[in-house]
């Protein structure tokens, strides 16, 4: 517990605290571009320079550990001038078309330049070559805006273990990007968008598809329906100044309706549907393994997260049989919206236009996969991220904060609390077990408030064991079986878990979500997502779940209705056609 002086204030901090955090605790905000708490401390941008008594040079506060007796000046003329020069140098190599940049007023560099009061760039000069990469459906890169902070490199390489982008070349000519100046589509990029989520500037962003949505809304021949993912309702408010973790479900519904969507539906409906399909698939696999003694791919992996799917296709093709064949809730929704719902309102699939709002950039990619045309048309036409929805609401001139709370439309709008928690890491697993356990035993999941505490929270790999006792007659083969489940979020953790499985660890069911924290930390969520923000959003989702009258997927009346009226039963013929998919082993390049 070293004590030190920061700007003449004495402070004691925990061991290993860096000076930037220590200063924050002392009430001093040191600007920085490359530092990302808990993710990256590499001292590359040199903006957070401070003067430490006795040190020969200035020190980057993000990589300097607080030490006993240290005397730190964060605002000495020397530190202040150096900081200004660093930011000016970065600006001198930055394509400063701020007004037309999607990060306008939401840009960390802009904010720092403003905080430091920079009014001119002393050392102007040539700028880095512009290379734009719009090769993937999900992401657009613009090297002219890149400030080489390398947050994306660390997130892609370490958090996600994908390493699709890293520094290329040397010196001023160095660029962050895929190897050999290739494009993202040529490499193993899983399009999770975590790079975009941490980018301090507009160098990596989601592909903006707002215009396509306006076009559809303006087309009188189209019935435009929108589905909203569970994770966005705990984050969209941040686009309008609400604190992270504020639930804005009702206002969001009102906004969408005001913008002209014909129906405002809920991806949650499809999440409940997923639980029934996936739960049944799990029980079927278990039955085959235990009763019929067949070779069955176990553990079964969840399949809701398209980044994870692409990661598995590239990195773990031998594990693909283990991945549930269920489509993600987004795609299940698209398929039933353009069939079941379209028939209800007497429309053909091609007259329908399905928009999803997702916390995710990979969903943009997923909606374009060739497997996702089971309605006869493309099941989901446009995917917007939470950020895009926020911008679209602004474009429509809607005063979001003043909106009344609206209600989702029927017949694809009802949902259980189990569907809400799809947003959180561990949530799909919990939702599945709430249903599976009740099907098998006829009793509620024996956890307090239906929450399986061991698989909640931000630990990288979580696991739980559940002994099944008192089974109903159909599922008596599971009597006494201890079901072992595991949960990983962030692909780096997924790798750890898979390696553990390959080393002989046995599980029955494994949930993988691509992004740290689950969908609430998705690549399309408002920037910047930190662990505190993740926890706030997770808590909000659990609140939403707990506030619902129905908390188990199999109790959703609209889900019951669709099986009764249309699908007949989980894993039935129609389900197989509309709600399930297949995977392709891909090269690792």
């Amino acid at each position: 517990m070293p004590s030190l002086t920061i700007d003449n204030r004495k402070i004691q901090v925990a061991d290993g605290t860096n000076l930037l955090e220590a200063a924050r605790q002392a009430g001093v905000k040191i600007p920085s571009l490359c530092y990302l708490r808990g993710v990256q401390a590499i001292g590359s941008c040199r903006v957070c320079m401070v003067e430490v008594k006795g040190a020969k040079t200035l020190l980057a506060s993000c990589v300097t550990a607080a030490a006993e007796g240290m005397e730190v000046q964060t605002n000495s003329p020397r530190a202040r001038e150096a900081r200004r020069t660093m930011v000016e140098l970065i600006l001198s190599d930055h394509e400063g078309d701020c007004q037309t940049c999607d990060r306008n007023v939401d840009c960390e560099l802009q904010a720092i330049a403003s905080d430091l009061g920079i009014r001119q760039v002393t050392y102007a000069g040539t700028k880095s070559k512009r290379m734009t990469d719009a090769s993937t459906p999900a992401l657009v890169r613009d090297t002219a805006k890149c400030v080489s902070c390398r947050r994306c490199v660390t997130v892609c390489g370490q958090t996600q273990g994908v390493a699709a982008i890293f520094p290329q070349g040397r010196g001023f000519a160095s660029v962050i990007g895929p190897a050999f100046a290739s494009q993202l589509s040529d490499v193993v990029c899983v399009q999770c968008g975590q790079c975009a989520a941490v980018c301090p500037v507009g160098a990596i962003s989601e592909r903006d598809e707002i215009a396509k949505v306006w076009e559809a809304l303006d087309d009188p021949k189209k019935t435009v329906v929108v589905q909203t993912a569970p994770a966005i309702r705990a984050a969209l408010g941040e686009c309008f100044g609400y604190a992270p973790g504020t639930l804005v479900t009702g206002k969001m519904v009102s906004a969408l309706r005001q913008m002209g969507f014909d129906r405002v539906f809920d991806t949650n409906f499809a999440a409940d549907l997923t639980i029934l399909e996936e739960g049944t698939e799990l029980l079927t696999r278990l039955k085959k393994a235990i009763v019929e003694k067949q070779q069955v791919a176990l553990p079964m992996f969840t399949s809701c997260s398209p980044g994870w799917i692409r990661y598995a296709e590239h990195f773990w093709p031998d594990m693909l049989p283990n991945v549930s064949t269920c489509k993600s809730p987004q795609q299940m929704f698209g398929a039933v919206a353009k069939t079941y719902f379209a028939e209800k309102i007497g429309k053909k699939p091609e007259d329908m236009f399905v928009v999803s709002v997702m916390p995710c950039t990979a969903k943009k990619y997923e909606s374009q996969r060739p497997e996702m045309y089971s309605s006869g048309a493309r099941d989901v036409d446009v995917v917007l991220t939470t950020r895009e929805l926020g911008r679209m609401i602004r474009q429509a001139g809607i005063d979001f904060t003043a909106l009344p709370d609206g209600q989702m439309d029927s017949i694809l709008g009802a949902s259980s609390g189990a569907a809400d928690i799809f947003a959180n890491t561990g949530g799909v697993m919990e939702a599945a077990l709430r249903t599976v356990y009740e099907i098998v035993t006829g009793r509620e999941l024996p956890f307090e408030n239906l929450h399986i505490a061991p698989i909640e929270g931000l630990a990288g790999v979580k696991e739980a064991a559940l002994k099944i006792e008192g089974t109903v007659s159909d599922w008596s083969f599971l009597e006494g079986v201890t079901v072992k489940v595991a949960v990983a979020h962030g692909l780096g953790n997924a790798r750890l878990l898979i390696e553990r499985i390959k080393a002989g660890e046995h599980y029955h069911f494994v949930e993988v979500m691509t992004c740290p924290g689950g969908c609430i930390g998705g690549g399309g969520q408002p920037r910047l997502t930190t662990d505190e923000i993740r926890l706030a959003r997770i808590a909000a989702i659990y609140r939403e779940d707990e506030g619902k009258p129905i908390r188990k997927s199999h109790n959703n009346p609209e889900v019951a209705a669709i099986y009764k009226e249309y699908l007949t039963k989980p894993l039935g013929e129609k389900s197989h056609h509309l709600l399930h998919t297949r995977y392709t082993a891909r090269e690792r390049v």
Partner: protein, 1063 residues
């Protein structure tokens, strides 16, 4: 089998291999085999061996004579080279064709071949023996003791020279703690550059407990021009391995890596072989020497990124990651390679270790300085005669390395600076040649010791361009991780690039300094933190060159292409379009040539005789055969003049009424008058003597510059509207205030530095003792002067030589010039010295006057003390110091002091006082000539101190432009614009090789007793032929406008009305 009677040691370092050592060796072996001097086995293997290029013949060939492939010998400038034992004969620059003779004569008949031996660069004397060549003689080969002595591929030869004894001692007799103690006691500091104490580093890494530690060798040498480590690895790889073995034992490491760049294939090949030899003999691997200690070494190849020499980046690279530095702490001693405790030492550091362990710390400390003990290897390159690898004791003066070992600067050029420490280092200028080469002293001068790169630069090196080069290097090699290095050095490079291309702006120097400081203070690693060092160092010592580039758009070294139309023109202080007038002369368009010359310099005929022609020193033709004889062509041209050819006036009519005064009718004043006249002014020149001409008349004897020639050119200037009033002496006949009162709006002071300096010794006021200038002036103005029988002239400048030659012409029996330095340091023009010698002037060098001896009221002799050259002084020349008390006396009834001239400014001023510079001359703006008094301008010797005619002319021109700007507020110096000369030139034609014709001189017999001109003019055919040798460096496919210097307006006070009128 015969025992081997002769060893032929051939250098197979990279330098010699690339200059053809393999072919020489093959020819040699063929020759030896043909004569039965070595056995057939070698012949059979010839092709294979040749292809590999490194296998030692010695290991295979048996017979009377053995050929040994050694590692780098060090004297790369002389490769391919061979040392023959017995005898230690040194053969250089060998070709395959030399081999039959060498074998026949030396090997068979025992007659060494003189033709192939080394010659002293100055005296040309043959030096047969290796050890006598100054390059080797002044070195102390410790680390390099095996270089060129053993086969680099034979562990037996290494062991035979005491190798691995230290390792055995360390492993068998010493504890890790005692090894570290010994290294600490030795005071060895890291030879990679930063100089961190090696023993301390080991101690840090020895302390932590760890399941695994690593010992690394940094062989990622990357400084431009540096090849110390490569040579050690190539010539003595086992020394490095032994050092690592000892170090690994000391810190408890089991695995070592040598990080070597792939560009060093020979080093890697030899290391690989050496490692496998060690493994076979139990020196590496498990249970080394049966001690239970395991240690093995692998080679990690780098791909040549400079930043990978930084320790944290190097470790990342070995780990297989992108070689980028990371912040420290944690230091590698605690968490290095794969986060394990790691020591990284440089090649040379490690090669010192076996010596320290074998001979002890005390022995190691016996050379070098207290804080920097031991020796240091330098790679001596650049503008130095003996390029190569040198090992010297720490603390030797830098100048000794350059002059004694390096043999000085080639082609008689002047030393400018030595770049030490590579891209993180700096330049040491001539003022500091005495600096002892040790860590602290070098750092105090803003450079760093670095790894040993030592690049010598001469007057042809542009310091701004050099700075740009290093920044370009840094930019290319920056990893791009941190902002200051990635973007900051780029911005610095851009500023330097614009300065080099004539687009520099006021404030650029300050911007560079600011940015440098910030980058040093903020960059992540050593590479970035030290990247600005060359910039700061060069601005510190060569700021004037930066300022010239920015303000005058001038690159004095003639390097920056955009600022240099042709090197000769660039070298001319007056900026005369030399290729232009030469080519016009070649087309017999004499009048055009004369007019073109007078665009920048009115004194064609004068300069054709007395100019020291810096243009010829920069002539590119010298790289083909010999420089163009510009002055002789000019002499021919001047002799063709009919009338006085001048360019058209370019001034406005209003200037006629503006009064400008010029004080002093020397070259500066007359040149100023000439250019003012061209602008339409009618200046008045006030001259103290009764004839105009200044030093041209008073100091330069008629045999060099005939009176009518001088008078003719002065008359030409006067006829342009210049009034010359003689016998008007400033301070006596009038004052500056008077001029002001008479309505003169501006005054140019071209009063020269006319006072001779006294000898400052006993007897100098005696009868018979005169100063050179007074003596020459007396004769030149009156036509007569008294001269003694035995004249002794003290000094080494032109005045000394002129005084001696004049004395002989006036009837002296002997004239002896005594100079305290050597002929090489004489400031007098070489051709004048030569002619003086031919006319019978005697020269005594290395003698300083002690006292003058009196006899019957007048001087009778001069006593001298013998000197030798000692330390370097601030001019970069060696200071003469007394060599004991070897005094001698020369009889003299006349002693002429020619030791310098000066200005006595107090005599000039009355009421108006012009500020002086630190040398006590008039302080004048180098661009405009303006002094601290805004209406007073100055130039020539009065402002610069004694200098050349052409520099005075240039100063007059600058002042004329400055005065005009002062009076009108605008720049009218249109003559400074480059002109397109429409002479024929075929850029495709190959130049025809031809030496320059000699000067045409008056026969000696016709010189004595007369002042007839010594140099005469060439025949037309010779002159026209010479013009064709011009390479036309001025030629451009498209006429390009050269950037023009700005007339600095810093303290110009322009009358509002005049400024308005100018618009």
């Amino acid at each position: 089998m015969n025992s081997t009677r002769m060893h032929l040691l051939m250098c197979f370092g990279t330098g010699c291999v690339s200059s053809g050592a393999e072919k020489v060796r093959d020819a040699l072996v063929k020759e030896l085999v043909a004569r039965g001097l070595t056995d057939e086995a070698a012949v059979g293997d010839l092709d294979g061996v040749g292809a590999e290029g490194v296998l030692p013949y010695a290991a295979r060939a048996s017979g009377e004579v053995a050929v040994v492939n050694t590692g780098c010998n060090g004297f790369c400038a002389c490769g391919p080279l061979m040392v023959v034992y017995p005898g230690g004969f040194f053969y250089q620059k060998l070709t395959p064709e030399d081999m039959p003779e060498l074998v026949e004569e030396h090997v068979l008949k025992g007659r060494p071949v003189e033709r192939l031996m080394f010659r002293h660069p100055v005296t040309q004397a043959v030096i047969p023996h290796y050890a006598d060549i100054p390059f080797f003689a002044r070195q102390n080969l410790r680390v390099l003791h095996n270089k060129g002595r053993i086969s680099a591929t034979s562990i037996e030869e290494y062991i035979g020279r005491g190798g691995y004894i230290a390792a055995a001692k360390a492993l068998l007799e010493m504890t890790p703690a005692s090894i570290i103690e010994e290294v600490k006691k030795s005071g060895l500091r890291g030879r990679g550059g930063a100089g961190f104490p090696t023993g301390t580093k080991w101690e840090f890494a020895a302390k932590p407990k760890s399941d695994q530690k690593y010992f690394l060798c940094n062989a990622d040498e990357g400084d431009p021009g540096a090849f110390m480590d490569r040579s050690v690895l190539e010539s003595d790889p086992h020394a490095v391995i032994e050092g690592m073995l000892i170090g690994a034992r000391a810190i408890g490491a089991n695995q070592g890596y040598i990080y070597c760049r792939a560009e060093y294939p020979l080093a890697i090949e030899r290391l690989t072989l050496a490692i496998s030899q060690c493994r076979e003999r139990g020196l590496l691997g498990r249970d080394v020497l049966g001690t239970g200690f395991d240690f093995d070494i692998d080679i990690a190849r780098g791909s040549g990124a400079f930043v990978c020499g930084e320790e944290t980046a190097l470790m990342r690279s070995i780990e297989g990651k992108r070689g980028e530095p990371r912040p420290r702490p944690p230091f590698p001693a605690l968490a290095g390679l794969w986060e394990k405790p790691t020591v990284l030492n440089n090649v040379e550091t490690l090669a010192n270790i076996p010596l320290i362990i074998a001979h002890g710390a005390q022995w190691f400390r016996s050379v070098g300085t207290e804080k920097s003990p031991g020796t240091k290897i330098f790679a001596l390159t650049g503008k130095v005669n003996n390029v190569g690898l040198v090992e010297v004791n720490m603390g030797v003066p830098l100048g000794e390395i350059i002059y004694d070992i390096g043999g000085g600067i080639p082609n008689g050029k002047k030393f400018k600076a030595a770049q030490i420490g590579g891209p993180s280092g700096g330049c040491i200028p001539k003022e500091h040649l005495n600096v002892p080469v040790d860590y602290e002293s070098i750092t105090a001068l803003g450079a760093i010791m670095g790894s040993g790169g030592l690049i010598v630069m001469d007057e042809d090196s542009c310091m701004v361009d050099m700075t740009r080069f290093f920044l370009e290097f840094t930019q290319d090699e920056s990893c791009g991780k941190c902002t200051p290095c990635r973007v900051g050095t780029r911005r610095m490079l851009e500023i330097l690039e614009r300065i080099c291309t004539g687009k520099g702006e006021e404030g650029d120097i300050e911007r560079l300094i600011e940015l440098s400081k910030t980058i040093s203070d903020t960059a992540l690693c050593g590479l970035g933190q030290t990247a600005p060092n060359p910039v700061l160092s060069n601005i510190r010592f060569f700021r004037h060159e930066f300022e010239e580039h920015i303000r005058d758009k001038k690159c004095r070294a003639g390097v920056c292409a955009e600022l240099v139309r042709a090197p000769c023109q660039n070298a001319c202080p007056a900026g005369v379009d030399i290729p232009g007038f030469i080519s016009l002369t070649g087309e017999k368009r004499y009048n055009e040539a004369l007019v073109l010359h007078r665009e920048r310099n009115p004194f064609v005929a004068v300069c054709a005789r007395v100019c020291f022609h810096p243009c010829e020193g920069k002539c590119r033709r010298s790289t083909l055969d010999e420089p163009l004889s510009v002055r002789a062509v000019k002499r021919f041209l001047a002799d063709q003049e009919v009338g006085f050819q001048i360019p058209a006036a370019i001034g406005n009519g209003a200037n006629v009424d503006r009064k400008v005064a010029i004080v002093g009718a020397g070259p500066a004043g007359l040149s100023c008058a000439y250019f003012l006249a061209r602008l339409g002014y009618r200046p008045t020149v006030f001259e103290a003597a009764d004839k105009p001409g200044g030093m041209l008349l008073q100091a330069i004897p008629a045999y060099r510059l005939p009176r009518d020639i001088l008078a003719n050119e002065i008359r030409g200037i006067a006829e342009m509207g210049v009034t010359i009033k003689t016998k008007k002496k400033l301070g006596t006949d009038f004052s500056l205030t008077d001029l002001k009162d008479q309505g003169f709006e501006a005054v140019f002071l071209g009063v020269g530095a006319p006072q001779g300096m006294g000898l400052g010794m006993k007897g100098e006021d005696m009868k018979g003792v005169v100063d050179a200038l007074g003596f020459l002036k007396e004769y030149n103005l009156t036509g007569k002067a008294k001269v003694g029988k035995n004249v002794v002239v003290i000094g080494g400048g032109n005045a000394a030589v002129d005084a001696a030659r004049t004395s002989l012409r006036l009837g002296a029996e002997t004239a002896t010039v005594v100079y305290r330095r050597t002929r090489a340091e004489m400031p007098a023009y070489e051709e004048e010295v030569e002619e003086a010698e031919r006319e019978g002037v005697k020269f005594e060098f290395l003698a300083a006057p002690l006292e003058l001896v009196e006899k019957s009221g007048k001087v009778s002799a001069a006593k001298f003390r013998t000197m030798e050259l000692g330390e370097f002084d601030r001019t970069g020349r060696r200071k003469p110091v007394a060599k004991g008390e070897n005094d001698y006396t020369l009889p003299a009834d006349m002693v002429i002091a020619a030791i310098g001239q000066t200005l006595k400014p107090a005599e000039l001023f009355d009421g108006v006082t012009v500020r002086l510079n630190e040398r006590q001359y008039l302080a004048a703006d180098p661009v405009t000539g303006q002094t601290s008094v805004e209406w007073v301008f100055a130039g020539g010797d009065a402002a610069s101190g004694p200098s050349s005619v052409v520099e005075a002319i240039a100063a007059g021109e600058k002042a004329a432009a400055g005065i005009d700007r002062f009076l009108t507020g605008a720049d009218h110096a249109l003559w400074r614009e480059s002109r397109v000369v429409n002479t024929f030139f075929d850029p495709e034609a190959d130049p025809v090789m031809a030496n320059r014709p000699g000067l045409k001189l008056l026969p000696l017999a016709r010189r004595s007793g007369t002042f007839a001109e010594v140099e005469t003019t060439w025949a037309r055919a010779v002159a026209l032929g010479e013009t064709k040798r011009c390479l036309r460096c001025d030629y451009r496919e498209q006429p390009t406008e050269m950037p023009r210097g700005t007339v600095a307006a810093a303290h110009l006070a322009v009358p509002a009305a005049a400024a308005a009128a100018a618009k």
